[in-house]
C-alpha cells in the first residue's frame, strides 16, 4: 500500500538501520548515501539476498538487490576491484559476494531482532538466503491494507545496491507508534576469508 513514511517512524528507522549497518560493517562504508527508489519492473537487480524477521505482530522481509559488478567492491580492494575482476564468470568471487551480502542481511536482521527485543517485541529471524532477482516476481504479496513496502538505494565509494523492506503488521496503529531503539555499537567490519 502507499503510505506516508512520516506517519510511520519505524519505516525510516528500518531504512536508517540498513544505512547504519552499511556504514558500520561494510568496506568503505563511511560515506554512505541513500535515496528512495521505485520498483518499476517488479524486481530490482539480478541478485537478491533476503532475510525474514518475524514475530506475532510484525513480519518483515529485508532484501538486498544487487548486481555482482556493483557489489564486488565489498569484497575486493583497490585494483583488485577493477574491471579485470569478473564476478559473473568468477564463481569464487561471486560466492564471496553472495556470502557477504547474505551476512549483511543477517547483521541487519540480528540488529533488528535485538532492537525489537529491547522494545519488548519478540521477533525471530530466518537464515539469510540468496536468490535470483527474477524470483521476486514469484513472491506473493498479501493484498492487505496493513502491508508496507519501501525501496531504497545505498551507495558508498566501493559498492552500490538496493534494499527493500516488506512489512506486514497485524496492527497498523501500533506500528505507527512503534519506535525501536537501535543499537549503535560498532561490531566491526564483516570479514570474510
Amino acid at each position: 500500500m502507499s503510505f506516508e513514511i512520516s506517519e510511520y517512524p519505524i519505516m525510516q528507522q528500518l531504512i536508517d538501520l540498513s544505512k547504519d549497518r552499511f556504514k558500520a560493517y561494510c568496506r568503505g562504508g563511511g560515506d554512505v548515501t541513500s535515496e528512495m527508489v521505485e520498483n518499476t519492473y517488479g524486481l530490482l537487480a539480478p541478485w537478491t539476498s533476503i532475510i525474514l524477521i518475524s514475530g506475532s505482530e510484525y513480519r518483515l522481509t529485508f532484501k538486498v538487490h544487487f548486481p555482482l559488478e556493483k557489489a564486488k567492491g565489498l569484497v575486493l580492494e583497490g585494483e583488485a576491484a577493477g574491471a579485470a575482476a569478473d564476478p559473473i564468470r568468477d564463481t569464487k568471487l561471486r560466492a564471496r559476494i553472495f556470502d557477504y551480502l547474505k551476512e549483511y542481511c543477517n547483521f541487519y536482521g540480528g540488529s533488528l531482532k535485538r532492537a525489537f527485543a529491547d522494545s519488548n517485541v519478540a521477533m525471530g529471524i530466518s537464515l539469510p538466503m540468496l536468490t535470483r532477482g527474477f524470483d521476486e516476481v514469484f513472491f506473493p504479496r498479501a493484498n492487505f491494507k496493513n502491508t508496507f513496502e519501501v525501496y531504497w538505494n545505498l551507495k558508498n565509494s566501493v559498492a552500490e545496491f538496493r534494499c527493500s523492506l516488506y512489512l506486514e503488521a497485524t496492527n497498523v496503529e501500533s506500528l505507527k507508534a512503534l519506535n525501536i531503539k537501535l543499537d549503535d555499537s560498532n561490531e566491526g567490519e564483516i570479514e570474510f576469508l
Binding site: 517488479g42 524486481l43 539480478p46 548486481p67 559473473i88 527474477f134 516476481v137 514469484f138 513472491f139 504479496r141
Partner: protein, 884 residues
C-alpha cells in the same frame, strides 16, 4: 518445567532449526543449479514483460548480444529486432495474452519465426516460442520467451529445397482435400508447363489433360486417387492398383506432341489412414521416344522380313512383268487421283491388284483391294472428302510399299534368279550397238558394201533381240494364276498352251500380261464349273483353259478359252438393262454376239459376290480399255450355255510401240535432254546431230522399231561419226507429239537423190512400207524422199489429223478460203484438219506457190475437185483403203 527439561527443549529446537537450515540450503543449491541450467540453455531464454523489458536473460542471450546477463536486465527485447519485426512480435505477445486471458489456459503458447539482428551485424532467423504467466508480485502478465537459432537449419532446408526443386523428378504431395501442397519440386512446373501449381487440385492439374489418352481403367484409377485419401491402407492398396503408371501429357493445343510421364505414388499414413499421397513424376519422353523408335524399328524389321518372305514366295518368272506393270500403272494412278479421275483410275487399280496377286505380293493386293472399295464409293459420291483423303493416303502407302518391294526385288534378284531380266537392257544394248555401229561405220567408209549390209542386218537383229521378248512368258503366268484362282474357288483346272514361240516387243509384255492374268482368272472363277457340277454334266472334273497364240505380220493374237459354262446371253441382257448399260429396248435389238460383248462395259458384272478376284465389274472393262489403248481389240465368243467361253485378243504390237513412243512425250523430252542436252523448252526441242547420212533413212526404221532407243542411238551415232548435219525436231501439236529426222539444209529432192545412191535406201523403203501397213490410221502421208512424216493420231478419239500449213503471214485470203473448205469437207469424213505454224510439221502446205513444193502441197489455184481427190486419196491411203 525443570531447567534440564528446558535445556533439552532448547537443544531440540536448535536441532530443528539446523535441520531446517540444512534442507533450505539443499533447496538453495538445487535452485541455483536449475537456474544455471537455464543460463546454459543452447538458445535464448528470456522473461519479458508486455512492453518487452527483459526481466531474466540467460547466458546464450547475453553472449549473443556481447553483454552480460546483468546488463541485459531491464534492456528491451526490441533492440534486437528490426522495427517492423518487433511490431509483429509485440502483436504476437498481445495475441497470446488475449488468448490466455480469455481462456485462462496458461498452457497456450505461440510459435513463429522471426529474424533478429545479432551483435555481429548478421541477421539470424529464430524460431520463437512464447508462453505467458502472471507475476505474483504485481499481477502483470509476463512472458517466457524461448528463441532457437534456426538460421543454419533454414539454410540447409533451403539448400535441400533447392535440390528438391531442381532434381529432374516431379514431386508433389497431395493433401487430404486432393490439393497440391505448397512444397513441390520445380520440375513439376517444367512437366506441367505452368507457374505455381500449389493449391491446385491434383486431378485437374495432372490428370485431366491426359485423360483422353488413357485407357478406361487408368482413367478410373486417376479418379480414384482422391477417393482413397483418408481411407485405410487396404482400401488404398486396392485402388492404387488402377492408378495410371504412365501418362501422356499433351502440349497445349496438340494431340500428338507432349511428354510421356511415369507416375509413382507413395501414401503418407497417419493413424492408419492415408493422410496424403506423395506423387512422383519422371519424364520418360526421351526414353519413350527411344522405345517407340526401337519398336518402330523392330516393326520395320518385322515388315521387312515379311516383305522378304513375300518376295521369296513370289513367282520369279512373273516378277519382271509385275515390275514393269507396276512402274507404269502406279504413276498413271498418281496422276489420276489429284485430278479427280476416280472412275478412270479403277481399271489401272484393278490391274495393279491383279499383278500384285499374280506375283504373290499379297500385302499390296490387299491394300489395293481396299483402295478399290474406297474409289468405288468415291465414284458414287465424288464429294466424299473423308474417303478421298483416305484413298489418297492409302495410295501413298501402296506406292511406298511397292517401292520397298521393288528395291527388294532388285536386291534379291540373284537369289530369285531374275538378275538378267532386271538389268538395264538399254545400257547393255547400247554397248552392243555401239560396238556394231563402230564397225559398221568403218565398213561404210570402206569399199566393203556387202560386209556393211551384213553388219547392218546384225545390228537390226541385235536391236530387235534387245527389245523383244518371247511370248512364252505367258506360260508361267497363266499356270500360276489358274492355280491360285482354282484354289480360291475350290475348282480344278488344267492349262493347255497351243502356239509356236515368237517375240513381241518388250514394251508389249505388260498389256499381254495383264490380259492373261485377267482372262485366266475370269475363266477359272466364272467359266469353269465346280468339279461336282462338271461331273454331273458329264464333263471331266477338271476344266481346261486353252491358250492359243500366234504372230502374224507384227500382230499378236491370243485366245483364252475355257470349257466351262459359257455365257448366259439372257442373263447378260438382263444385267445390262438392270445396270443401265443399255435400255431394255436396245438390248432386245442386239444380236446375241453383241450382247455377250456387253460384259466389257464398265461396272458390268453378273457376279453376286464381290471378292478380291472378281465381281466388281472392273476387270473386263479394264482389259478392253487397256487393250484398245495399246492398239488392240478384244472380243468374247460363247457358243452357248455349257459350251465354254473364248476371249480373242489382237495386238498390233508394232503400232502399240509407236503409240506408246509418241504419247510418251515427257519421256521423250527427258531422253532428249539427257542425251542431247539441247532442250530449249518442253514443247519444242531442236536437236542438231552430226550423223552419218546413210543412217538417216534407217533411222526412220530404228525410230519406229526401238522407240526410246533411237535417240540414244542417235546420240551415239552423232558423237561417234562426222557427216552431214541432221535435224531432229520434236514439237508439240496440241496433245500430239511430232517428231521428224531429216538431213539438214537439204531439199527433199536432193535428199532423195542423195540417199538413193545407197543400197540401204531400198531396204528402208520396204521397212517404211511395212511400217505403214502396220500403222493404218496414223500415218497420213509419206512424202517423197527419205522423209517419213507422221501425221499421227494418238488422242483417245483416234481421229485422223491432217496438219496444214498456210503460206504467207498473214495467209492470203484464197488460202484461208481453201483451208475453210477443206476443214468443212474433212469434218464430214470424220477427219480432223488443223492449222499449224510450222511448215516442217505439215502434211499439206497450202498457198499460192505451194504447188512447187511437191505432192504434199496444195496451190490456191488448184481446182477444188483435185484438192478433194488428193485428200481423199491421202486419207484413204493412210487408212489402208485400197479402191482397186
Amino acid at each position: 518445567m525443570s531447567s534440564a527439561v528446558k535445556q533439552t527443549a532448547v537443544s531440540a529446537s536448535n536441532q530443528d532449526l539446523q535441520a531446517t537450515q540444512q534442507i533450505i540450503r539443499l533447496f538453495e543449491v538445487a535452485k541455483n543449479e536449475a537456474e544455471e541450467s537455464i543460463d546454459r540453455l543452447p538458445g535464448i531464454f528470456l522473461v519479458v514483460n508486455r512492453r518487452g523489458f527483459i526481466l531474466r536473460a540467460n547466458d546464450y542471450y547475453a553472449e549473443m548480444l556481447k553483454t552480460t546477463v546483468e546488463d541485459a536486465l531491464f534492456a528491451n527485447l526490441k533492440d534486437i529486432f528490426a522495427e517492423e519485426v518487433w511490431s509483429v512480435f509485440l502483436v504476437n505477445l498481445r495475441e497470446l495474452e488475449d488468448t490466455v486471458s480469455k481462456t485462462g489456459d496458461l498452457s497456450k503458447s505461440l510459435a513463429f519465426e522471426m529474424p533478429i539482428r545479432a551483435a555481429n551485424g548478421f541477421t539470424a532467423v529464430y524460431l520463437w516460442q512464447i508462453k505467458v504467466f502472471s507475476s505474483s508480485t504485481t499481477g502483470e502478465k509476463l512472458f517466457y520467451v524461448f528463441g532457437q537459432d534456426v538460421t543454419e537449419l533454414r539454410v540447409k532446408e533451403k539448400q535441400l529445397l533447392e535440390i528438391f526443386e531442381s532434381i529432374p523428378v516431379g514431386i508433389v504431395t497431395c493433401n487430404s482435400k486432393g490439393l497440391i501442397e505448397p512444397h513441390y519440386s520445380k520440375f513439376c512446373e517444367v512437366l506441367f508447363g505452368e507457374g505455381q501449381i500449389a493449391g491446385m487440385p491434383v486431378f485437374q492439374r495432372v490428370f485431366t489433360p491426359a485423360l483422353k489418352f488413357m485407357k478406361d481403367v487408368e482413367a478410373k484409377g486417376a479418379y480414384a486417387l482422391v477417393d482413397c485419401l483418408d481411407q485405410p491402407m487396404d482400401v488404398y492398396e486396392l485402388l492404387a492398383m488402377a492408378f495410371p503408371k504412365q501418362i501422356f501429357y499433351p502440349n497445349i493445343g496438340s494431340d500428338t506432341e507432349g511428354k510421356f510421364i511415369a507416375v509413382s505414388y507413395q501414401p503418407i499414413v497417419l493413424s492408419a489412414k492415408v493422410d496424403r499421397i506423395l506423387i512422383m513424376f519422371t519424364d520418360r519422353t526421351a526414353i519413350q521416344k527411344a522405345q517407340n523408335e526401337t519398336d518402330a524399328k523392330a516393326k520395320q524389321e518385322e515388315v521387312h522380313v515379311r516383305r522378304i518372305l513375300e518376295v521369296k514366295s513370289c513367282i520369279a518368272e512373273v516378277i519382271p512383268i509385275t515390275m514393269s506393270e507396276m512402274d507404269e500403272l502406279l504413276p498413271q494412278i498418281a496422276e489420276q487421283f489429284p485430278n479427280g479421275l476416280w472412275k478412270e483410275s479403277l481399271n489401272p487399280l484393278h490391274s495393279v491388284k491383279g499383278n500384285a496377286r499374280l506375283s504373290g505380293l499379297k500385302t499390296i493386293a490387299e491394300m489395293v483391294h481396299e483402295l478399290e472399295g474406297l474409289v468405288l464409293k468415291i465414284v458414287a459420291n465424288p464429294d466424299d472428302v473423308e474417303r478421298i483423303g483416305k484413298a489418297k493416303e492409302l495410295f501413298e502407302k501402296i506406292q511406298n510399299e511397292w517401292k520397298e518391294f521393288r528395291d527388294l526385288f532388285r536386291m534379291m534378284a540373284g537369289e530369285l534368279g531374275i538378275s538378267a531380266e532386271l538389268e538395264n537392257r538399254t545400257s547393255i544394248d547400247l554397248e552392243i550397238v555401239q560396238d556394231l555401229f563402230n564397225r559398221y561405220n568403218d565398213l561404210l567408209y570402206s569399199a566393203d558394201k556387202v560386209g556393211a549390209a551384213v553388219l547392218r542386218e546384225r545390228i537390226q537383229l541385235a536391236l530387235e533381240s534387245a527389245n523383244h521378248t518371247s511370248i512364252d512368258f505367258i506360260k508361267p503366268l497363266a499356270n500360276a494364276r489358274a492355280k491360285e484362282v482354282a484354289e480360291a474357288y475350290d475348282k480344278k483346272v488344267n492349262v493347255v498352251f497351243q502356239g509356236s514361240s515368237f517375240k513381241i516387243p518388250t514394251d508389249a509384255k505388260s498389256i499381254v500380261n495383264e490380259c492373261i492374268v485377267h482372262l485366266v482368272s475370269n475363266a477359272v472363277a466364272h467359266g469353269v464349273e465346280s468339279p461336282e457340277v462338271r461331273v454331273g454334266m458329264g464333263k471331266p472334273a477338271a476344266g481346261t483353259i486353252t491358250i492359243k497364240y500366234w504372230d502374224e505380220m507384227g500382230f499378236t493374237h491370243i485366245e483364252v478359252g475355257d470349257d466351262g459354262k459359257g455365257i448366259d446371253v439372257e442373263r447378260v441382257r438382263q444385267s445390262a438393262s438392270k445396270k443401265g448399260v443399255l435400255s431394255l429396248e436396245e438390248s432386245l435389238n442386239k444380236k446375241p454376239e453383241e450382247i455377250v460383248n456387253l460384259i466389257f462395259a464398265p461396272g458390268f458384272s453378273t457376279a453376286e459376290k464381290v471378292d478380291e478376284i472378281a465381281g466388281r465389274g472392273v476387270g473386263l472393262s479394264a482389259i478392253k480399255e487397256n487393250v484398245e489403248n495399246h492398239s488392240g481389240s478384244v472380243r468374247v465368243v460363247s457358243d452357248g450355255l455349257g459350251k465354254g467361253t473364248k476371249f480373242i485378243l489382237n495386238f498390233d504390237t508394232v503400232r502399240n510401240k509407236l503409240s506408246k513412243r509418241l504419247v510418251s512425250q515427257l519421256d521423250f523430252l527427258q531422253i532428249l535432254k539427257d542425251n542431247l542436252g539441247a532442250m530449249t523448252n518442253r514443247n519444242h526441242v531442236k536437236a542438231d546431230l552430226h550423223i552419218h547420212p546413210d543412217l538417216v533413212k534407217r533411222e526412220s526404221l530404228v525410230f519406229c522399231d526401238v522407240g526410246k532407243m533411237s535417240l540414244a542411238l542417235l546420240t551415239l551415232i552423232g558423237t561417234t561419226s562426222g557427216g552431214t548435219d541432221v535435224d531432229v525436231r520434236i514439237s508439240n501439236a496440241g496433245d500430239k507429239l511430232i517428231a521428224r529426222i531429216e538431213p539438214k539444209d537439204m531439199g527433199t529432192a536432193n535428199a532423195t537423190n542423195y540417199f538413193s545412191q545407197f543400197p540401204e535406201y531400198e531396204l528402208s523403203k520396204r521397212s517404211c512400207e511395212r511400217f505403214i501397213s502396220h500403222h493404218q490410221g496414223e500415218i497420213l502421208e509419206i512424202s517423197k524422199g527419205i522423209e517419213v512424216r507422221f501425221g499421227y493420231v494418238v488422242d483417245s478419239s483416234r481421229i485422223p489429223v491432217i496438219n496444214c500449213f498456210l503460206q504467207g503471214n498473214p495467209p492470203d485470203p484464197l488460202s484461208l478460203e481453201l483451208y475453210a473448205k477443206i476443214e468443212k469437207w474433212a469434218a464430214g469424213l470424220n477427219v480432223k484438219v488443223q492449222k499449224i505454224d510450222s511448215i516442217l510439221d505439215a502434211s499439206f502446205v497450202i498457198g499460192k506457190d505451194a504447188g512447187d513444193l511437191g505432192q504434199g502441197a496444195i496451190s490456191n489455184d488448184e481446182p477444188w475437185a483435185n484438192v478433194r481427190q488428193r485428200f481423199i486419196e491421202a486419207v484413204e491411203k493412210s487408212l489402208g483403203i485400197n479402191r482397186t
